[in-house]
Amino acid sequence: MRKTIFGALLASASFVSTAFAADLTIGVSIPAADHGWTSGVVFHANRIAEEVMGSYDDVEVIVKTSPDPASQANALQDLEIQGIDALVILPTDPDALVNAIMEVKSKGTFVALVDRAPSNNDDSVRDLYVAGNNYGLGEAAGEYIAENNPDAKVVVIRGMPIPIDQERQDGFDAGIEGSNVEVLDRQFGNWNRDDAFRVMQDYLTKFDDIDVVWCQDDDMAVGVLQAIEQSQRDDIQYVIGGAGSKDMIKMVMDGDPMMPVDVLYPPAMVGTAIEMTVAGLMGQLPVAGVYTIDATLVTPENAEEYYFPDSPF
């Protein structure tokens, strides 16, 4: 049912675009670059926006960044006034912005939601949902360890006590299930390299024998690696981070033994959402529902594909 309506909408959109030869406007609303991952989001949004405008003369992509939910709500209004046909949004706080998004959608605008979803994440809010796979991120790391070191003693550094973090932990636990992998300890590192350094130092004091560190975030991996290097301990075989920052991808690419793999939670997913939206509006393929970005395991073999040396992240 929904697809039919959507198809009709698509048809009319493409009709408009052929009739007036120019006008498909896509608004992109994303958080301001306040830490590594969001700065990657900003980078990739702009990168894809330019690519899209380069390949289609009649498509315009407007990227707006906002530091907090209130200013993002204002940004949505501004975009609406400029007359957008589609909105790609990565909300700073999904539940705070759900009404503003629904308002846009009620005008008939195509809405693609990225990464962060409100609690009522259904088709009343968005047409398309492009999500990273937090569960998968944990699971991929867990499976890798279970497969390569089935008897490993692992220390875990968590992020912050929020749902995303919990999903990753659940995924990890599922990944190691059935193996002899033992989790020695889990502590919070606040997705911050200084805190991760501190936690890792204390782990090294507390445990004589650690095989693997899973810190599920590339920023924290920086602090973890320094702490290990300082201790001159050789019992730790490797560290698994997550997200796909250029520095860590580079290490994987170079075959660094301490960083054999990385798990993607790519800020580039915003670009994917923009591309899918354009494709959908152009009528190239039907686009709707939920699209989950794979938590791809980055290995030395495929690392080059995910390496963006110009990105700030």
Partner: protein
């Protein structure tokens, strides 16, 4: 009513002649170390204690500067952002590699950081004294400014030291040891020693305390109140620079989240150390003890096997309040 001195009263008299306020933080420190040893015997290992002391070097150094600002009756909330800003500029400069020699680069970068730190402090000080604004508001503003500039410089991402030779050379400042003692500990002690000489043995130090305890008395005593406050802010900036010089070699990288909440940690360390928030008493060594206590609490929590990671913050808060209560009761008795 004769005042014969029994041995007991003479002991009590010696005790009461010791300034409990000055000693209390060190007593708290000892209690904490004993508690830590009971939680996990590895806690008292030299390596662990050296780790913790090295880690608290940043906050401890900043706290020495904060002791001056708070003693003179002001407050600086911008230090955390200042760390991020100065560190970012320092790394960006090192990445330019304008000099061929890595040693030359590192030395110039160190000088640059000192100058920039002093300048940031001067900025805070001028706005507070010449602008006659509340230090709380001024430094809340500059906290945003320094943080924003850092985010802009890094475009939201990380700023990482690229030159491997510089990194290899400079790394020693954090990870190296001198006669077995890590450099950051030595540098922190040196900063504290300088700070205590300045606070207790110079005219300026006396003036800081006078300005902090009563500005009118200070003015009537011919003290240039504005200048003393300004210098205190600059000293704060310089200690931030020293913290940066220790911080950069550790990870060789900064981001817009570097140094967040450090201002609160520094202020907490100063207060635990026995300096009154309303000004007028400076305890340089107390602040060092305070910074060490803060870091120890986290360390003990992590080394324990029975405390849920979810409760860490709550227990940390409780211990800080307990430490203050113990200190207060000791002070009252004296």
């Amino acid at each position: 009513m004769s005042t014969q001195t029994s041995p007991l009263t003479s002991i009590r008299r010696t005790l009461s002649s010791v300034d409990m306020r000055a000693v209390a933080p060190f007593i708290a420190l000892i209690v904490l170390i004993i508690a830590g040893a009971m939680v996990n015997p590895r806690f008292v290992g030299l390596d662990n204690l050296a780790n913790v002391a090295t880690r608290c070097a940043f906050i401890a150094t900043i706290a020495v500067g904060a002791t001056f600002v708070i003693s003179s009756g002001d407050l600086d909330l911008s230090v955390g952002s200042m760390v991020a800003f100065v560190a970012s500029v320092m790394i960006l400069f090192m990445n330019t590699q304008v000099f061929a020699s890595p040693l030359m680069m590192v030395l110039t970068a160190v000088l640059l950081a000192m100058a920039l730190g002093a300048l940031c402090g001067l900025f805070n000080g001028v706005l507070t004294t010449k602008g006659q604004l509340e230090p709380f508001i001024v430094t809340l503003g500059t906290m945003g400014i320094f943080r924003g500039l850092t985010t802009w410089l890094s475009q939201g991402g990380a700023i990482t030291l690229q030159a491997q030779e510089q990194q290899a050379l400079y790394r020693e400042v954090y990870f190296g040891r001198f006669f077995g003692v890590p450099w950051p500990i030595l540098i922190t002690l040196a900063v504290a020693l300088l700070g205590s000489l300045l606070m207790y043995r110079t005219r300026f130090g006396r003036h800081v305390v006078a300005v902090g305890s009563n500005r009118e008395v200070a003015r009537h005593s011919g003290i240039n109140v504005s200048r003393v406050r300004l210098y205190a802010f600059m000293i704060q900036g310089l200690t931030v620079a020293v913290a940066v010089i220790l911080y950069v070699p550790r990870l060789g990288s900064t981001s817009s989240t570097t140094g967040t909440m450090w201002e609160l940690q520094a202020i907490t360390a100063v207060v635990i150390g026995g300096t009154a928030l309303k000004g007028g008493s400076g305890r340089v060594w107390g602040s060092i003890a305070g910074a060490f206590i803060l870091e120890l609490v986290g360390n003990i929590m992590l080394l324990s096997n029975f405390i849920s990671e979810y409760l860490l913050l709550a227990i940390q808060g409780t211990i800080i309040i307990l430490a203050m209560l113990v200190q207060r009761s000791l002070t009252r008795r004296a």
